[in-house]
């Protein structure tokens, strides 16, 4: 088999031109014949009942075709919640009764001849409620706290040794509580659904990171066979986890299209996206971390509290990652769910690691100050080659190398180990560090790979490009393995007419899809090589077929002898070779492939039977704080990552660069404000929900270390889409402490928090 380089060259995106010229078709761009347009109407209370819904004014708006309410809505058979093995974003189905379970719940669907008419009519639907007092978030009366291990059979809290006893005897102990805020994805592309029936066949256009799941979910909810549904999502304009599961709107739109006998296009407003799809819930953490006199960790306790909805238990359980970060000898963890009257949270880029690693990496920094040790030194002292919970080895773990290189690039040795001791241009300067990690996960994948004698290749897989560069990376893999030029490879994605690809979640897409492509490419090579080596004539006759590879448009043996592809194909008597391959990760049984096609997810990784697999990185940041106003800026960030084989230096670089930008947002900007009286999101727009802008990011430097990890999969690829934004929040908070002495145990860090600490 042809070798892929450890760090692949930085090929520009093959779909870049389409995107910058507006030719890339996103879901809502697809035109369907004679469409009707739909808008949602959503509740303005978080808990209670609908007393009446008056659609009479809405019905009078010229062009309105239909207003669906709980009284006349199509019956929807809810499919199970994703967390229970189904596809649904939340277990509760709106529009099937009068009950209101969260703010912004869908209470009507308006369909009209034009988008404008639908919008106007939606505004004119008047609801009367019988409201009840909602519980909004942690600490509110009416929330219910449940211990995850007690309510879920699948949940186990990782532990080892006796952490509480060890902490009693520890020379240094940090005991602290940390909090992270509610975050919403706010992908640039809004949510939309277009449903088009032809006879009993339904086509759905919807931005998705899981087309097969969407197909299964919609089919299930409408009670029709899956093969009657096709889902198309060739480009997704940002997803970050929000477009993975199936929200209520999809089947509703399809049902409306069926009833009205014409295609329906539903557009969800920015504000409605906050409540009809998922988000990152707020979390709380109780940490106890203890060390010996010399800084050796002796005990770690991590208790996490996560907000969830009344009907669904959605938990990210990031203790599964934090406990494996250092050589903890004694560990105790516990995760609890806190129920409130909110929509169900869900996956958001590094769902578990962003909040949980903030807690751990802040606590490590606090301990370093307590001991009087350099915080990187403390981390390296507690580096480990084995997983402290399972005792199994890490496949690769270049934590030390990442930090050492990052220190060098950053100039960490200029750090003065004293709070408030560094200044530049009249501002306080602080340095902060944190460890980044992400479990290396994989999922089953199927692919069809085609090679033509003329040297053209095609990859077909229902994987997704959510902006990450999947088109390019899969083309690179095929080009490299089949020995053709990159511009000769065509890639088709995001369509349930293609072989089933993995959900674009858990950073599995590249590793899993490339593994499947390798399998298919090997089959193609073998067919051509067998024909060439077993033939009676030709330059490869009689050679060992295992030594023959596809390279530079030729079929060649190790000694360089070979023939052009056209000749090799002639020998086979065909113009095209096509191979379909199914790939299963280690430890996954055959049934998972059926499941993949039927919309059930199987993801494995992190701690495995015989090993533990993670990507790691070191992130160092500098902050500058105005000594008067205490406003915080981040002029400089360095990230060094080790994440297996890097398929494309450019697209991978973009992922971790963007990830660190996101991490700055997590540290300083992103917070969905909740009005606790009403359990309602207040800043549900991108003017007031802040994310970093260009001016917030001044200088960033990233590097990938070479890493050859043959154990994780044949390709040696580890996912990295969710690596870069882990730890950044803690690195910023740690730097703020260094600069000001203010320990931010709650993110985002707001100017008022820093001010308050300086005033007392």
């Amino acid at each position: 088999m042809a070798e892929l380089p450890l760090i692949g060259e930085g090929a520009p995106r093959i779909d870049g031109r389409l995107k910058v010229t507006g030719d890339a078709r996103y879901a809502a761009d697809f035109s369907v014949p004679n469409p009707a347009y739909a808008q949602l109407v959503t509740s303005t209370i978080a808990r209670g009942r609908i007393v009446s819904l008056d659609a009479s004014e809405a019905g009078k708006v010229p062009g309105v075709l239909k207003v669906y309410t709980h009284e006349n809505a199509p019956k929807i058979e809810g499919v199970p919640f994703f967390g229970k093995g189904g596809q649904a974003y939340q277990g509760f189905r709106p529009l099937q009764g009068v009950e209101i379970k969260h703010e912004g719940q869908i209470i009507a669907l308006v369909v009209a001849e034009t988008l404008e008419a639908a919008r106007e009519a939606a505004f004119r639907v008047k609801a009367t409620y019988e409201p009840q007092t909602p519980a909004a978030t942690f600490g509110d009366g009416g929330t219910e706290t449940e211990v995850a291990a007690e309510i879920s059979k699948q949940h186990t809290d990782p532990k080892t040794g006796d952490a509480d006893a060890a902490l009693k005897d520890a020379a240094h102990v940090v005991e602290a509580e940390y909090e992270t805020a509610t975050n919403h994805h706010n992908a640039m592309e809004l949510y939309s659904t277009t449903a088009h029936w032809t006879g009993d066949h339904l086509t759905i256009y919807e931005p998705s990171q899981w087309v097969y799941g969407l197909r299964a979910g919609v089919a299930g909810e409408l009670g029709i066979p899956q093969d009657k549904v096709r889902v198309l999502s060739p480009f997704t304009g940002g997803a970050f986890g929000s477009k993975g599961t199936v929200t209520a709107r999809s089947a509703l739109t399809a049902a409306a299209a069926r009833a009205l006998n014409r295609p329906v296009k539903l557009l969800v407003t920015r504000a409605q996206g906050y409540t009809t799809a998922s988000y990152r819930a707020e979390t709380k953490h109780r940490i106890r971390l203890g060390a010996d006199g010399d800084g050796t960790f002796v005990g770690f306790v991590h208790e996490g509290f996560e907000l969830t909805s009344r009907p669904d238990t959605f938990l990210v359980s990031g203790t599964e990652s934090t406990v494996r970060m250092y050589g903890f000898k004694n560990v105790r963890t516990k995760v609890s769910a806190v129920r409130a009257d909110r929509n169900t949270p869900g996956f958001m880029r590094s769902p578990a690691e962003v909040p949980y690693m903030f807690a751990l990496e802040s606590a490590v920094d606090e301990l370093a100050w307590k001991i009087g040790m350099d915080p990187i030194e403390l981390r390296l002292k507690n580096d480990t080659k084995t997983d402290p919970i399972t005792g199994k080895p890490f496949t690769t773990r270049q934590v030390r190398a990442c930090f050492e290189r990052a220190k060098e690039l950053f100039g960490w040795d200029r750090r003065v180990a004293k709070v408030g001791a560094m200044r530049a241009d009249g501002e306080l300067v602080g340095y902060g560090a944190a460890l980044a990690c992400y479990p290396t996960q994989l999922a089953p994948a199927a692919v069809r790979l085609t090679l033509e004698g003329k040297g053209r290749a095609r990859v077909q897989i229902a994987a997704h490009d959510i902006g990450t560069g999947t088109y390019t990376v899969l083309a690179q893999a095929a080009a490299g393995l089949l020995g053709v030029a990159l511009d000769r490879v065509e890639v088709e994605l995001g369509d349930t007419n293609l072989p089933a690809g993995p959900i674009s979640g858990g950073s599995v897409a590249t590793a899993s899809s490339v593994s499947a492509i390798m399998k298919a490419a090997e089959a193609i090579r073998l067919r051509l090589a067998t024909a060439a080596t077993t033939s009676n004539d030709g330059p490869l006759a009689g050679k060992d077929k295992e030594s023959v590879v596809l390279k530079d448009g030729r079929l060649v043996a190790e000694d360089g002898t070979g023939e052009d592809l056209t000749d090799a194909f002639k020998r086979l008597g065909v113009g095209t070779v096509e191979e379909y391959a199914e790939w299963l990760p280690d430890g996954v049984d055959e049934k998972a492939m059926r499941g993949l096609y039927n919309g059930s997810v199987k993801i494995v990784g992190g701690p495995m039977q015989d090993r533990t697999q993670f990507s790691f990185g070191a992130e160092l940041v500098e902050v500058r704080v105005n000594p008067r106003t205490l406003s915080i800026r981040v002029p400089r960030m360095v990230g060094v990552f080790a994440s297996g084989r890097i398929m494309n230096r450019m697209t991978a670089g973009s992922q971790v660069l963007g990830g660190m930008v996101w991490g700055v947002g997590s540290a300083l900007h992103e917070q969905t404000e909740i009005d606790r009286r009403y359990a309602r999101y207040v800043n549900d727009n991108i003017a007031e929900y802040l994310v970093p802008v260009n001016a917030d990011i001044v200088h960033q430097e990233i590097e990938f270390l070479e890493e050859d990890d043959g154990e994780v999969n044949l390709a040696g690829v580890k996912g990295l889409g969710e690596l870069g934004n882990v730890g950044t929040n803690a690195a910023v908070a740690n730097a703020v402490y260094h600069a000001t002495g203010f320990r931010a145990r709650k993110i985002p860090i707001r100017i008022e928090d820093v001010l308050k600490s300086h005033l007392v």
Binding site: T44, E120, R628, T629, L668, R750, I751, L755, K756
Partner: protein
């Protein structure tokens, strides 16, 4: 959006006539207006598009004033050489506002009259006295982090969000307006109305009245002026606190000073008492801080915005000390 009539007059006279219709309102760049119409917060039956009117797109210098046509784009004014050299606060306040796209579209007249960003004002499902008089104020007791601490009332605590008007408030500024009743000039300090008992009345213009010019009286205060803005991110965010400071120094001593406050008050705010306290004093961080404290002495804070007082005080210090470097 609800249906509305749209008219695009060719002359100011025609515009004034078109605006005489019941409920008709002007629209210039539209960046506030269309936004609020999409949210159903404003539901005007008729828009009169003044954006293309001739003669209102220039910045001119007279003997005693700098005169801004109401239709000058924010971006153009921000770049104007006269402002950059002689009135940097007026240029910086524009530079630090909104985004390049908005600045390219938005006009100075519209900018001055932009509406509050109070989320309870901007969402028709909440109670808001400004939007629906007498309905109540959900901001009091709600998420009021961005709200005002100066010039509020029992009925409304919304803050005036704009930047440029804060710099205008620091100078001697007047506004020329025209309506069917004729032309008149309004002192800038009288243009924006504090909420008091009638938060629904945000400015002193009569129905159908149009701003034609904004006139800033020439002053030596302009040279050593600055606009300092503190916000949650480095660009494209409204002020948590901002200060327009302008100085005339006599050695280390303050001869004359102006202070406009933004992000913290119900209207573009002039801190006159603080100015008076500084005059004749040496300008040091300590005296500047005292001025800041004077400016915020009557502040009234709510659940989430108490920080605006210490932040506002420090912003005054930053602005004054930075203006001093230009004196």
């Amino acid at each position: 959006m609800l249906p509305f009539a749209y008219e695009k007059p060719k002359s100011l006279d025609d515009a004034v006539k078109a605006l005489a219709d019941e409920g008709a309102v002007p629209i210039a760049g539209g960046t506030t207006m269309i936004d609020l119409m999409k949210l159903y917060v404003l539901q005007p039956p008729k828009l009169v598009d003044i954006g293309g009117l001739p003669g209102l797109g220039e910045i001119e210098e007279t003997d005693d004033a700098v005169v801004f046509g109401a239709l000058v784009r924010m971006a153009d004014a921000a770049e104007h050489p006269l402002l950059k050299s002689d009135y940097p606060a007026l240029s910086e306040a524009l530079w630090l506002a909104a985004s390049p796209q908005i600045r390219n579209m938005a006009t100075l007249g519209g900018n001055v009259l932009q509406r509050t960003r109070c989320p309870y004002f901007r969402d028709t499902s909440y109670r808001c006295n400004r939007r629906v008089p007498g309905s109540g104020c959900d901001a009091i007791g709600g998420i009021n982090r961005l709200h005002a601490v100066l010039g509020t009332s029992e009925t409304c605590i919304a803050s005036y969000p704009g930047d440029w008007a804060v710099a205008l408030a620091a100078f001697d500024t007047e506004v020329d307006a025209v309506s069917r009743a004729g032309k008149r000039t309004i002192a800038f300090a009288d243009l924006h109305l504090r909420p008091d008992d009638h938060p629904e009345r945000v400015h002193a213009l009569k129905e159908g009245e149009v701003i034609t010019h904004v006139r800033v009286k020439k002053t030596p205060l302009g040279k050593a002026s600055t606009y300092y803005k503190v916000r949650d991110r480095e660009s494209y965010a409204f002020a948590l606190a901002s200060v327009a400071a302008a100085l005339v120094m006599d050695g280390e001593t303050v001869k004359d000073v102006r202070l406009g406050l933004g992000g913290v008050a119900s209207v573009p705010w002039r801190a006159r008492e603080a100015e008076d306290g500084l005059k004749g004093q040496e300008l040091t961080p300590e005296t500047a801080r005292r001025a800041g404290e004077t400016a915020f002495r009557d502040a009234r804070t709510y659940d989430h915005n108490a920080f605006k007082v210490p932040l506002g005080v420090e912003t005054v210090v930053e602005a004054l000390m930075s203006a001093k470097t230009r004196a």
